[in-house]
């Protein structure tokens, strides 16, 4: 399946939508720091994998998809919800990458340069996510082809 880059999407997002995500992200980062300072880094660390901007992002996707359908004179409620559901499924795959990020950072941080470790962990996150996403899509396509053949026969 092809991955497209849609630069115009940046223009479709309004400034207040950027601001909402900034506030969500900043608040969770500040909260992680406050909890770590008060209850220790072990508890504060949980918030490093908090679904910080997910509710805001999913809501924006739902809104944008609905508006696209409504411009065509259609009711986009279901389409918006389906797009948000697909986004959540993608985030579930992304969380496996997040798990790998945490694992690599935890294992390498005590012995290696900090910036090298963070760069490597981010690369591992990206590679894990992209590979899992690709495998899932390929699996779906194979299933679809199989059912097409069965129906044809």
């Amino acid at each position: 399946m092809r991955i497209d880059v849609d630069l115009a999407a940046l223009g479709r997002t309004k400034w207040h939508e950027y601001a909402i995500r900034f506030v969500f992200g900043g608040s969770v980062t500040a909260l992680a720091g406050i909890i770590a300072a008060k209850y220790g880094p072990a508890l504060g660390g949980l918030f490093l994998a908090c679904p910080a901007i997910f509710p805001a992002s999913a809501t924006l996707i739902d809104k944008h998809e609905r508006q696209r359908k409504e411009k065509l004179g259609l009711n986009g409620t279901n389409r918006g919800r389906q797009a948000a559901s697909a986004d959540a499924a993608g985030s579930a795959i992304g969380s496996v990458g997040l798990f790998i990020f945490a694992l690599v950072t935890w294992k390498l941080l005590p012995q290696h340069n900090v910036w090298m470790v963070l760069t490597l962990s981010t690369l591992f996150w990206l590679l894990t996510c992209a590979s899992l996403w690709h495998l899932r899509k390929r699996d779906q396509m194979l299933k679809n082809r199989f059912f097409k053949v069965i129906n044809f026969k």
């Binding site: 497209d4 980062t29 500040a30 949980l46 918006g80 997040l98 798990f99 990020f101 996403w133």
Partner: protein, 113 residues
């Protein structure tokens, strides 16, 4: 107070950057990968290392493992609920955040603490 403000600004900037990256891609399932980007982790760990010891950041990243496992359950639940029920997206995604916290705390207590 100054430290919290710096965390807020750096965290907000990094999270916004990853969110904007997510906006660029289609299909939406691929863009969703950026919803679980290590944005908060990158901002927090960078600031922690600049301010505190490496062992402090190592402990944080150890706990993050439990948070990431809980995120997987959270995102899977939200995806399933939105696909099968006619719920408001913001409501479903926000109402499930306490589930993330409970699960993360459970994993942390059982395996990591």
């Amino acid at each position: 107070m100054k430290e919290i403000l710096i965390r807020f600004l750096v965290g907000g900037a990094v999270v916004s950057l990853f969110a904007a990256l997510g906006d660029l891609f289609r299909p939406k399932s691929f863009a969703g990968l950026f919803g679980a980007a290590p944005a908060v982790a990158l901002a927090t760990l960078s600031l922690t290392i600049a301010d505190k010891t490496t062992s402090y950041a190592t402990t944080e990243s150890h706990s993050m493992i439990a948070g990431a496992l809980a995120f997987f359950i959270y995102a899977s639940c939200v995806s399933w609920v939105l696909m099968h029920h006619k719920l408001n997206v913001f409501l479903a995604a926000t109402a499930a955040v306490p589930v993330w916290f409970r699960v993360a705390l459970g994993f942390w207590r059982i395996w990591l603490n």
